[in-house]
Amino acid sequence: MSVRRGMRCRKCGAPAVINMPQHKLALCEEHYLEWVPARVGQTIKRFRMFRPEDKVLVAVSGGKDSLALWDILYRLGYAAEGLYIDLGIGGGYSAESKAKVEAFAAARGGLPYRVVDVRETYGCSIPELARRSRRGAKTCSLCGLVKRHIMNRVAYEGGFAAIATGHNLDDEAAVLMQNTLHWQAGYLGRQAPVLPSTHPHLARKVKPLCLMYEREMAAYSLVRGIDYIYDECPYSVGAKTIFYKELLNQLEGRSPGAKLHFYLSFLKAKEEGTIRFAEEEAVQMQDCRRCGQPTTAGDLCAFCRLWERPEMAVCGPADEFEA
């Protein structure tokens, strides 16, 4: 073998910073920084996520995916506003992630974003809430419930057309694999790049990074100099998703593009009707008397019911409902 020239950028021949066998593509820094937003822009159009004139709320956690998403939407010229939810998680996690978001926005000339502090707004942080809610509710599911409520509320009050989250292809493929292994028909029926709004108080949810490999997003953040929080939320350490991601990476090693194919062929089969999931029965929804978000159980939604418990008296929904 002669002297190895190493891998070169397909566009310009400069040394490649990334090789993507899944796309049979290697790119240099400059061309990688062009390629990523172009691909995300195509994904937004392909799935009709939102229009150029729409106001979009980006849920930012301080992690690589959500900050990169915000950066990309901004570069593509979308009116993207950030939403950071301060969960009050200790060990420096919430403090550090919030600092990353602040620094990110400041470095881009003061990108607009809102902060909702869970403790300030509702009287107790997520860990406090988990401690008080007896039935052994898992911190992550409680946190999910609170975040969904807040995102929907902010989107409704701010008149946003959609909430964009940083879920990448590996996230989606891992969830798909998990749901397939358990034949979770309900979840499979709902998994999609776009979740349309079914109620005025429920925002449209979109995932513009759903075709981007997690590795591609980490590389984008590095090359773009985005300083993100590297540590996991202490409550999600050892999350099952990681196991499925590792499995899928083994598959990817044997057959480049396997993850993308798994996800895309699932979407295609659903669209073409070759696999079908029973339509969910139209359950009777009513508006929560407190917050207006729809609920299937009684006149209070699951979020508002949280604060009804006697143990929550010390917390209680403070200023959100004062007006």
Partner: protein
């Protein structure tokens, strides 16, 4: 020798192999990490040189 660093772990490997092979020798999955040298991202076909210090960044997150 080449030094490979991932968070608080370090490996010492002979120079001359590709970054991908070095990652595998360290018992890691090349899909799950990115490699940086001198503050720059490098592709996994890059050959390691004597005295290289290669920082690995884990790309997988949970949630």
């Amino acid at each position: 020798m080449v030094k490979l660093i991932l968070r608080d772990k370090t490996w010492e490997l002979p120079a001359g192999m590709t970054v991908r092979d070095a990652i595998k020798k360290a018992g890691l999955d090349p899909h799950a990490v990115l490699a940086m040298r001198d503050g720059k991202l490098i592709n996994e076909e890059t050959l390691t040189r004597p005295d290289d210090v290669i920082t690995l960044i884990s790309v997988i997150s949970g949630g």
